[in-house]
């Protein structure tokens, strides 16, 4: 049971890193990407190559993965971010399809459909990972690192400028902010952070193949961000918990084994539809709403102002 829970926690941690790094693009930079699994995959393949060919060091493999994935996302961002946002969504789907094909077909680098096997267990500063619990602790450390980096970023001048673009792009440009530079930087950072999840995955599963980095998974990652609530620290975490753990919870329901698969999918899909109908701003917005009702401090200052409001 401990191994099962540890396994779930590792997968959940990976999902949190991916959803939170994607939210840097979606929630803060206003870039709707359906290609985030590519950066996850590039990170996983790079870490696997470093581990197989050079060193078992998780730190070195992860830094290499971040560098390569950051470079790939930069290469994607520079030409593609020039197009308008709805076109970017389509372009990102194209990028995901191209990347999936490369993952599947570039046998000498990715191992094709067979993937890269025999990735050794990770070592971090002399600590050799031996069990799922070790990986759970490693993943928790990585989640804490990624969330800290994102929290620092969104409260930095860079993050504030992204939020300004999210609020009003024209005004931000008129104040001298360069949309392309900021969005390319956000995409590159997002890709680099996603690679951390790829590195954990490669070492933990010890096997990397294209089936984990598909368009389906990219869509699921976007769903995590939207369901949880884009543009907040809590939103992607809540979304990742929901998407990762909800199917696992359904397995505990007493459903006949012949129909458990379709029933799970219907409940799961139906729950997502209902969430979006009733809480379109994501689950995190409900918490904000309740907090706002309980504590009117946020609007107290506004109420104290002169009464010449414009309606």
């Amino acid at each position: 049971m401990a191994a099962y829970i540890a396994n779930m926690m590792v997968l959940l941690g990976i999902a949190i890193i991916l959803a939170s790094s994607l939210d840097l693009m979606v929630g803060y930079a206003g870039i709707f990407s359906v290609a985030h699994a590519v950066f996850y995959g590039v990170g996983a393949y790079t870490a696997a190559h470093v581990a197989l060919g050079y060193t078992h060091s998780f730190l070195i493999a992860t830094l290499a993965a971040m560098a390569v994935s950051g470079a790939v996302s930069f290469i994607l961002a520079v030409p593609v971010l020039r197009v308008r946002e709805e076109y970017f969504v389509v372009a990102s789907i194209g990028f995901q399809i191209v990347a999936s094909t490369i993952f599947t077909s570039w046998n000498s680098v990715t191992g094709g459909m067979g993937g890269l096997t025999g990735v050794p267990t990770a070592r971090l500063l002399g600590w050799q990972m031996a069990s799922p619990v070790d990986y759970m602790i490693l993943t928790a450390l990585c989640v804490a690192f990624v969330l800290t980096v994102i929290a620092l970023l969104v409260h930095s001048p860079f993050g504030r400028a992204l939020k300004a673009f999210r609020d009003d792009e024209t005004a931000a440009i008129a104040l001298g902010k360069d949309p392309l530079v900021l969005r390319v930087a956000a995409t590159t950072l997002s890709g680099a952070l996603a690679a951390i999840a790829g590195s954990i995955y490669a070492f933990y599963i010890a096997f990397v193949n294209p089936e984990s980095f598909t368009l389906d998974y990219s869509v699921l990652l976007l769903a995590m961000v939207i369901i949880g609530g884009a543009g907040s620290m809590a939103g992607p975490i809540i979304g990742a918990v929901f998407i990762t753990l909800f199917p696992a919870l359904l397995t505990f329901m007493n459903i006949p084994s012949q129909i458990i698969g379709p029933v799970q999918q219907i409940i799961y899909g139906g729950a997502i539809v209902l969430l979006m109908v009733f809480w379109p701003d994501g689950i995190a917005s409900v918490w904000k709403l309740m907090r706002g009702r309980r504590s009117p401090r946020a609007t107290a200052a506004a109420r104290a102002l002169p009464s010449d409001r414009a309606g």
């Binding site: 860079f158 440009i173 008129a174 104040l175 506004a302």
Partner: protein, 244 residues
């Protein structure tokens, strides 16, 4: 006085309609110039052309020796020209403080400045427009007049030399209008140049050193307020009164 901005034979058409038609105008450094004219005269289009949001079909725009044609809006702003919008376009989910701070800080910094310079500049700008006390209020929760002053504060914060203000005083009550005038005058005293679009002719008369009268995309007249207001033909065009 030297010309800070030179607009030369500027033309811009949309779908075959000439919106800016051979417009020529020079703004002198340190002066407040009002751009007036009937609706559809091309006033906001001229702002869009100067600030790089539109590219002219013909003609030139020079600012302190720099050719502005073809420059991206953010580049124009960095040269020292910034504009406001009729519909304000504040960052509504950010506080008053953040609206100004984000305008003046280097957006590529991944960490906050430790020397407190950005904070000091933000405080100075907000105190100047009378919004320091409201610094923690979300921009969306401000009164209309306060929003107008915050809009001006953001432009001041980016280090603007030439202010292009699109109806900055519309909808202001009496005391706010007085404060707005004082602010414009103090900006002028600091050596800034201001071009403003304004429909309220009382305000135009009160604040302007020069008036440019735009009609059907061309600068039909340019002069002091006394000269412009004395011209009956311009009054006829402005108020749409048919000639008898």
């Amino acid at each position: 006085m030297t010309a800070e901005l030179e607009i030369d034979s500027l033309c811009k058409a949309f779908g075959g309609n000439l919106i800016i038609n051979n417009a020529t105008l020079e703004l002198e450094e340190g002066r407040i110039t009002s751009l007036v004219g009937p609706n559809g005269a091309g006033k906001t289009t001229l702002f869009n052309l100067i600030t790089g949001f539109l590219r002219p079909d013909a003609g030139g725009i020079r600012y302190r020796g720099h050719d502005l044609v073809g420059l991206a809006p953010q580049r124009v702003t960095r040269l020292g020209i910034a504009r406001s919008f009729q519909n304000l376009r504040l960052f509504n989910n950010m506080t008053v403080y953040e609206n100004v701070l984000v305008s003046l800080e280097n957006s590529l910094r991944l960490w906050r400045r430790k020397d407190g310079r950005d904070h000091a500049r933000t405080q100075a700008v907000l105190e100047r427009v009378g919004l320091w006390e409201q610094r923690r209020v979300r921009a969306a929760d401000l009164s209309y007049a306060e929003k107008k002053f915050l809009n001006l504060a953001r432009i001041m914060a980016v280090g603007t030399e030439l202010f292009l203000l699109d109806e900055p005083a519309s909808g202001l009550d009496g005391p706010s209008r007085v404060m707005f005038h004082e602010l414009l005058r103090s900006l002028q005293k600091d050596g800034h140049t201001i071009l403003l679009i304004e429909h309220n002719l009382d305000i135009v008369r009160e604040v302007s050193d020069r008036i440019a009268f735009l009609n059907k995309g061309e600068v039909a007249a340019f002069g002091t307020p006394e000269q412009i207001f004395a011209d009956e033909e311009l009054t006829r065009i402005y108020f749409g009164v048919s000639a008898q």
